[in-house]
C-alpha cells in the first residue's frame, strides 16, 4: 500500500512540474497596443543567453502608484517584454530599490564586488558622475539620434561640460519644482497669483503677510516629504545668486562655502521666512505638510510635477502653481529648481555593455514614454515629444508646468559635493529656526570638503 502511495506521489510531482514548465514556456501575450506599429522590419540576429539586470527605484522607472501593483502589470515590465521580443535571446530582470538614495551606496558595493546590475537608475549630476570609475563610459557609444533628441546630457557628463565624458544616459522626465497654492485661499487674502504672481522675494514677503492676516499659514513645509521640504526653495535661491561655477569651485575646495555671499543671503532669507511666521513653526519635525495643504490650513506648498496628480484629485481646479520668486541680485531669474534628475548608469563590469546601451536607448524611446505617461503624468526629456503627445494637455496646470520645466535649473543637490550637501541638509533646519547662524552652517560644510581633500 505504501509503495503504491509513493509511486502515485512521484507521478503527481512529475505531472505538476511538467505543467509548470509548460506554463512558463508559453510566453507573454500582453502587448502594448502601439507595439505592432513600431516593430522593426529587420529582425536582429539572435544573441545567445544575454541576461541584463536593471535596478530602478520606486517613483522612477516604476511610478509610485504602479509599485503597489503586481510586477507584471507595470508599464516597465510590459515594455521590457517588447524589448526582449525584438532582441531574441535577451532577458531583462528588474529589481526595485525602495530607497533611491540608498541605491547609490548599494551600487558602489556591487561595483567593488563586480556582481551588481548591468544598468542602475540613479540621480544625475555628481551623484552619477562621481561614480565614473564604476561606469561604462558612453563616449562614441550613444546613437546620434539620442544625443540629438534627448535633453539633460550635461547632467551626466563629466564636469557638466558639453564635451565632458558621458558617464550615463539621462532618463525620464524633467521637473519643475514650483510653489503650489490654493487659489481660494490666495484670493481670500486679496491676491491673484494666476494673474499676478510674486516675482521677487519682497513681493513674496508682502503676499505672505496678507495671507497670514487671514489666519492661514502662508507656506507649509515639513522635515522630510519631497518636495515640501523648504530645502528645495533655499537651494534655488543659492544657485540663482551664486551660480553653478561657484558651486564647482566650492566642491573642489578652491573657494570656501563661508565666503559664498549668495549662499549666506539665501540662508538668511530662508531664516526670515521662519522668523516672520510665513512658514509653519513646527516645520523642523512635522511630517504632514500635504495634509495641512489639502485641508486648507496652509495656502502654499512646494510641488513638483509628480505631486500634482494626488493634489489635483482633492483640490481640482483650486490648485495653482508658480515659479519661485527671485532674490535681489540674482544671476538666474524666472526659473526654479528641477531639470533632469534621473540617469541610467551602465556598470563597467557588465558582460553586455552594447546591449545595455540598447536597453537605455529603448527606455528613452518615444514608444516607451507614450506608454509611461499614461500612468505617470510627466514631462519627458524627448525634444520630439510635444506636450500634446503627453495627454496632459487637458489640464492647464500641466501646461504651465511644462512651460516652467523648459527653464528649470538642475537640482542644486545634484551639483554639490555629497558630504557638503548632507551637512547643509542637517544644519539648514537649525539655521532657519535661528539655533545656528548661516556662517556656522557653512563652516561645517567647509570642514567636510577639507576632510575629503586630505
Amino acid at each position: 500500500m505504501q509503495r503504491k502511495m509513493s509511486r502515485f506521489l512521484v507521478v503527481l510531482l512529475v505531472v505538476i512540474f511538467a505543467v509548470s514548465f509548460t506554463a512558463c514556456g508559453s510566453g507573454n501575450t500582453d502587448k502594448s497596443p502601439d507595439a505592432d506599429n513600431t516593430k522593426s522590419t529587420t529582425e536582429p540576429a539572435p544573441v545567445k543567453d544575454v541576461h541584463l539586470v536593471l535596478w530602478t527605484a520606486s517613483g522612477s522607472l516604476v511610478s509610485g502608484s504602479e509599485a503597489k501593483l503586481p510586477q507584471d502589470q507595470w508599464v516597465l515590465s510590459k515594455m521590457l517584454r517588447i524589448f526582449e521580443e525584438r532582441n531574441p535571446g535577451v532577458t531583462v530582470e528588474v529589481m526595485v530599490e525602495p530607497d533611491q538614495g540608498q541605491a547609490h551606496q548599494t551600487f558602489k558595493a556591487a561595483a567593488l564586488a563586480k556582481n551588481g546590475p548591468d544598468v542602475v537608475n540613479l540621480w544625475t549630476g555628481l551623484y552619477t558622475t562621481s561614480l565614473k570609475e564604476a561606469a561604462y563610459i558612453l563616449d562614441g557609444k550613444v546613437p546620434q539620434e539620442d544625443l540629438d533628441n534627448l535633453i539633460g546630457w550635461e547632467t551626466v557628463r563629466e564636469g557638466f561640460k558639453s564635451d565632458g565624458s558621458i558617464i550615463a544616459y539621462p532618463w525620464g522626465t524633467t521637473d519643475a519644482i514650483g510653489i503650489g497654492y490654493s487659489k481660494k485661499l490666495i484670493n481670500a487674502a486679496g491676491l491673484d497669483f494666476e494673474a499676478n504672481p510674486p516675482k521677487t522675494t519682497a513681493e513674496f514677503d508682502a503676499a505672505c503677510e496678507k495671507i497670514k492676516a487671514t489666519g492661514v499659514i502662508p507656506m507649509v513645509s515639513d522635515e522630510g516629504s519631497w518636495p515640501a521640504n523648504l530645502y528645495f526653495i533655499h537651494n534655488y535661491w543659492w544657485q540663482q545668486l551664486s551660480g553653478a561655477d561657484t558651486i564647482a569651485k566650492e566642491n573642489s575646495g578652491k573657494m570656501k562655502f563661508v565666503d559664498d555671499n549668495g549662499l549666506k543671503d539665501a540662508l538668511t532669507y530662508y531664516q526670515s521666512l521662519y522668523k516672520n511666521g510665513y512658514v509653519n513653526q513646527d516645520a523642523l519635525s512635522s511630517t504632514n505638510a500635504t495634509e495641512r495643504f489639502l485641508t486648507g490650513e496652509a495656502a502654499m506648498r512646494y510641488v513638483g510635477v509628480g505631486s500634482i496628480p494626488s493634489l489635483i484629485d482633492k483640490m481640482g481646479d483650486d490648485l495653482g502653481v508658480m515659479p519661485t520668486p527671485d532674490m535681489p541680485g540674482a544671476k538666474i531669474t524666472g526659473s526654479q529648481i528641477g531639470g533632469v534628475g534621473q540617469a541610467l548608469v551602465i556598470a563597467n563590469y557588465s558582460k553586455n555593455p552594447e546591449m545595455a546601451v540598447k536597453l537605455c536607448s529603448f527606455l528613452n524611446s518615444a514608444e516607451f514614454y507614450k506608454e509611461y505617461v499614461k500612468v505617470n503624468p510627466c514631462i519627458t526629456i524627448r525634444k520630439d515629444f510635444a506636450f500634446e503627445d503627453t495627454g496632459m494637455d487637458s489640464l492647464p496646470i500641466y501646461k504651465k508646468l511644462f512651460g516652467m520645466a523648459q527653464k528649470s535649473i538642475l537640482f542644486t543637490d545634484n551639483l554639490v559635493d555629497s558630504d557638503a550637501m548632507n551637512e547643509l541638509a542637517k544644519q539648514a533646519p537649525l539655521v532657519y529656526s535661528g539655533k545656528l547662524t548661516p556662517e556656522e552652517a557653512l563652516e561645517a560644510m567647509d570642514k567636510q570638503i577639507a576632510a575629503k581633500n586630505k
Binding site: K108, S285, A451
Partner: protein, 295 residues
C-alpha cells in the same frame, strides 16, 4: 595502557578540537571585519576605488574637529537611561515577585515590547511625539507646548523614554531571576529579627541582586555605545543637526549616507571599540569592588 598524562592531554586536545571550528568561524566573522576596519581607518577610502594610505589623518580629524566630543556627550547623556531603567525594572520585578493581582498576565505583557523590532517601536514613538501626535496634544491641554523632536534635549528625552519602555520587561525579568535566587530562609530570618518590608528591600534584596544589576548595567552600556542606532535612526535621524547623533550613528552617517568617507567611518569605529572596551573594564572593576564590599 594509556598513561594519566596522555589521557589528560587527550582530553585537552578533545576540548580544543571541539571549540576550534567555532573559534575559526568567530575569527573569520568577527576578526576579519575588525582587521579590515583598523586597516581602512588609516586610509582615505571613498567607498569605491580611491584608497590611499594617509596615516593618522582620520584620527587627528576625529579628535580635533569637535564632533567626537559632541557625540560622546550624547552617548553619556543616553547612559542616564540606566538608573531609570533599573528603578522601573526593580519596581516591576518586586510586583511580580510579590505575585500581585494579575501578575501572570502582566509578566508576559511586560516582555512584549522587547520582542518587537527597535525600528517599529522607534517609529511608534516618533508618531507619538510628533507635533500633531497624542503626547504633545495632551501636554498642550495642560499648558506644556513643546516641539519634542525639534530640540536636542527633548529629542534625547524621547529616545531615552523609548529605550526604557522597550527594555522594562527585560530588566524586570532579569531582576526577578535574581530575586528568585535569594533563599526564602533569609527573608524569614529577617522577619523574625523584626525587619520590615523596606528594611528587607534595602538591606537584603538590593545588596544580593548587585551582580544582576551589574550584568544589566554592562549590557545597557554596551547597548548605548554600540546598539542605539535603531532608536536614533527611527526617531530623530541624529537631528536636529547633530544634537542626538551618537558615535555609532556617526559611523552610519559617514559610511552610508553619502558613502564617501569609509576610511573616516572606520576610524570612528575603532575609537568606539576602544571606548567600549575601557568602559567595560571600568565597570567590571567597580562591580568587583562592590561585590567584595558586600561580601
Amino acid at each position: 595502557m594509556h598513561s594519566y598524562k596522555y589521557l589528560k592531554m587527550n582530553k585537552s586536545a578533545q576540548g580544543i578540537l571541539s571549540v576550534l571550528p567555532v573559534i575559526l568561524i568567530l575569527i573569520f566573522l568577527k576578526g576579519y571585519p575588525f582587521y579590515t576596519t583598523v586597516y581602512e581607518s588609516f586610509r582615505n577610502w571613498d567607498g569605491l576605488f580611491k584608497n590611499n594610505f594617509i596615516g593618522l589623518s582620520n584620527y587627528i580629524d576625529i579628535f580635533t574637529n569637535g564632533d567626537l566630543w559632541t557625540m560622546l556627550l550624547n552617548n553619556l547623556v543616553m547612559l542616564l537611561h540606566i538608573p531609570l531603567l533599573i528603578i522601573t525594572g526593580l519596581i516591576f520585578a518586586l510586583l511580580l515577585y510579590e505575585e500581585t493581582y494579575g501578575w501572570k498576565i502582566f509578566r508576559s505583557i511586560s516582555y512584549l515590547p522587547n520582542v518587537i523590532s527597535v525600528v517599529i517601536i522607534g517609529y511608534l514613538f516618533r508618531m507619538l511625539f510628533a507635533p500633531d501626535g497624542p503626547v504633545p496634544m495632551v501636554l498642550s491641554a495642560i499648558g506644556i507646548d513643546l516641539e519634542w523632536l525639534a530640540n536636542g534635549w527633548s529629542g534625547m528625552a524621547v529616545i531615552i523614554i523609548c529605550i526604557i519602555w522597550q527594555s522594562m520587561g527585560w530588566q524586570a525579568l532579569l531582576i526577578l531571576g535574581g530575586l528568585s535566587g535569594i533563599s526564602v530562609s533569609v527573608f524569614e530570618a529577617a522577619r523574625i529579627d523584626g525587619a520590615g518590608y523596606w528594611t528587607r528591600l534595602f538591606k537584603i534584596v538590593l545588596p544580593l541582586i548587585v551582580p544582576v544589576i551589574e550584568y544589566s548595567s554592562i549590557l545597557s552600556v554596551l547597548m548605548v555605545f554600540g546598539n542605539s542606532f535603531g532608536y536614533i535612526f527611527s526617531i530623530t535621524r541624529g537631528g536636529p543637526g547633530y544634537a542626538t547623533t551618537t558615535l555609532d550613528y556617526m559611523i552610519y552617517s559617514k559610511a552610508f549616507v553619502t558613502g564617501t568617507q569609509m576610511g573616516a567611518a572606520c576610524a570612528v569605529g575603532v575609537v568606539l571599540a576602544v571606548i567600549i572596551f575601557i568602559a567595560t573594564l571600568i565597570q567590571m572593576r567597580i562591580a568587583r569592588k562592590t561585590e567584595s564590599g558586600v561580601e
